[in-house]
């Protein structure tokens, strides 16, 4: 564990050296997300000027939902972006074999191989949104709340990563896994708004099937004191179970790969 942590640090260091070499690229990448997010928030703002509350949620409350989701997603974006391109960049070219002849875990190697700085912008925005919504909504700054929010973002990030790991593993069979990953990942768009405004079926899907709800709606409800039941505490457990399932599936895919090759 300590060995992996220090290895990750080294990977990260090398990555930043490269990024500094392409300074412009780095700045564009890290800030381009800012513009994308700005557009998203502007849309929300325009909508909210017409209707002061959406399904009983104020603009600031919606920003909290949106911010929590954005921060969660940025964790996947920063630390697990290689899952998107595993088929295209590693399996098709045979580059994945390199991971298998090294004395470290291949999944760790894949993830550590490319920290994606584009996610930093998202992380900053997500955090800023949460902080500003927090302030304007007058949520008390209790240690419990802060801890809860941090844990919620981490669990949310883990849910994003686990779902991408599940879908990316299909690359061991079909190589080009991006369409599969995208199909599931895009569902997070729903979670940018309170689940309570959707049909029951969609609510259930985003809670039990593709549980992005735990990255936004449930923790936001807790912080806002809205009663949605015990589910506000389920995020970390859901994330953990999903990670375990995804990792098992990954190992299964890896076994398939060692039977078929690239």
């Amino acid at each position: 564990m300590a060995r992996y942590a220090s290895l990750y640090g080294l990977f990260l260091l090398q990555r930043f050296k490269v990024l500094l070499e392409y300074r412009l690229n780095f700045l564009i990448g890290a800030s381009s997300t800012v513009f994308v997010q700005a557009a998203g928030i502007a849309t929300l703002w325009v909508v909210m000027r017409q209707v002061p509350s959406l399904n009983g949620w104020s603009f600031d409350e919606l920003l909290l939902v949106y911010g929590l989701l954005t921060a969660s997603r940025s964790i996947e974006h920063m630390f697990a972006d290689n899952l998107w391109t595993i088929g295209r960049q590693y399996i098709r070219s045979g580059g994945f074999d390199r991971f298998l002849v090294r004395p470290i875990d291949p999944l760790f190697h894949l993830l550590a191989d490319r920290f994606n700085h584009d996610g930093i912008g998202n992380f900053v925005i997500g955090t800023l949104l949460v902080v500003s919504a927090w302030a304007s909504l007058g949520i008390p700054l209790l240690p419990l709340y802060v801890l809860y929010a941090v844990l919620a973002v981490l669990s949310g990030g883990a849910i994003f990563i686990a779902l991408n790991l599940l879908t990316a593993t299909t690359a061991f069979w079909i190589v080009e896994s991006v369409p599969v990953t995208r199909a599931v990942h895009e569902m997070h768009e729903f979670a940018k708004y309170p689940l309570s405004m959707y049909h029951k079926g969609i609510q259930a899907a985003l809670t039990w099937l593709i549980p992005y709800g735990f990255a936004s709606f449930y923790p936001a409800s807790y912080l806002l004191g809205r009663d949605v039941g015990w589910l506000v505490w389920a995020g970390p457990a859901v994330a953990l179970v999903l990670l375990l399932v995804a990792y098992r599936f990954w190992l299964f895919g890896l076994r398939h790969y060692s039977g078929t090759g690239s």
């Binding site: 090398q14 070499e21 070219s93 045979g94 580059g95 298998l100 002849v101 090294r102 004395p103 060692s258």
Partner: protein, 338 residues
């Protein structure tokens, strides 16, 4: 590990790929989903050999013979369909990580370095992945910089390197953790003679100094002649020759070639002295070979000239390339040492 345990042991190794078959179009895709059909491809049929520690063995064969597939099983990347592999006493697939510490691999067509990182940064990372002791790493880096002439390359990212520079960098990366067994899958592909020489010298040196066991796959028989005392030739996933290089030479070396340029194309079969035969013929060129223990060059030349108008002719010593061509061509019963 005991002294006389082989470094690599392979017995009745087999790898069958199942390639999904699919009819074109959406219908085909749907059908493939519900009732997948597979075509079997036997890449490695039945291969056995063992390599003692410190040996450099050439592993050759035509395209598609199964060389890379064998190496992937030896490195633990692929699981065998059947048969047994032991590398330094371990099952490379089941004990992948423990095996990985002891081996190094070059796949000539790919790089294991990071495209954008300066070579020295890539090497630092690799050394850390393999937990090379820092002091030892420094020594090796210095050594390799000297023997592989990495000097000005160390600061260069791989994307800016020429093919030859890349391969030198690649070898340094593969050997920086001092693996006991090294697999080189076409390490000289596309390189000019000067770089080839450097690379061969480096491999030889590592083998001599550290007793590194090397399995070398190549289509360049110069590599084999210079590095390997033993050759394994495979064809269609089976071993067709396994023995010393010298034996191949002896067996096939008794043949000499003689090529004639004739005034007109050959119209009727030639009568030749015993031990001589036609091996190639096109327009006005005629290639023969003869067993020098049974016929002499002048006998053969005289026989041909008596039947055809000859403009020119030349004699050739058999080189390894033509020998191997003969073996690939099916002369295997003769090649197998007894």
């Amino acid at each position: 590990m005991s002294q006389n345990q082989p470094a690599i042991e392979v017995s009745h190794l087999r790898k069958v790929f199942h390639i999904p078959q699919r009819d074109p179009g959406l219908g085909g895709a749907v059908k493939a989903l519900f009732r997948p059909r597979y075509a079997e491809k036997v890449a490695v049929d039945d291969i056995s050999f063992s390599v003692p520690p410190g040996e450099i063995v050439g592993y050759i064969g035509v395209n598609g013979a199964g060389k890379s597939t064998t190496i992937k099983m030896l490195t633990g990347i692929l699981a065998p369909t059947a048969g047994l592999v032991r590398v330094l006493g371990r099952d490379p697939h089941k004990e992948r990580v423990a095996n990985a510490r002891q081996i190094g691999v070059v796949f000539g067509q790919r790089t294991q370095l990071w495209w954008d990182l300066a070579l020295v940064e890539s090497l630092n990372l690799i050394a850390r992945i393999y937990e090379v002791e820092p002091k030892r790493y420094k020594e090796l880096l210095e050594q390799f910089s000297y023997t592989l002439e990495l000097g000005e390359l160390l600061a260069k990212p791989v994307r800016q390197m020429s093919l030859g520079q890349k391969m030198r960098a690649e070898l340094a990366a593969t050997l920086i953790h001092e693996p006991r067994v090294v697999y080189l899958d076409e390490p000289t592909i596309g390189l000019d003679v000067v770089v080839k020489e450097k690379i061969r010298a480096f491999i030889k040196e590592q083998n001599r100094a550290k007793g590194t066991t090397v399995v070398l796959t190549t289509h360049d028989l110069g590599d084999i002649e210079e590095l390997c005392s033993r050759v394994i030739i495979i064809d269609a996933g089976r071993v067709i020759y396994d023995g010393p290089l010298a034996t191949i030479r002896e067996r096939f070396g008794k043949y000499r070639g003689i090529t004639f340029e004739t005034a007109r194309p050959l119209e009727h079969p030639l009568t030749l002295p015993p031990g001589a035969e036609v091996v190639g013929q096109e327009e006005r060129r005629l290639e023969l070979r003869f067993d020098r223990t049974r016929a002499s060059a002048s006998q053969v030349a005289a026989a041909v000239m008596g039947q055809l108008e000859v403009l020119d002719f030349s004699l050739s010593e058999p080189d390894l390339t033509s020998i191997v061509k003969q073996i690939y061509g099916g002369a295997l019963s003769e090649a197998r040492p007894v």
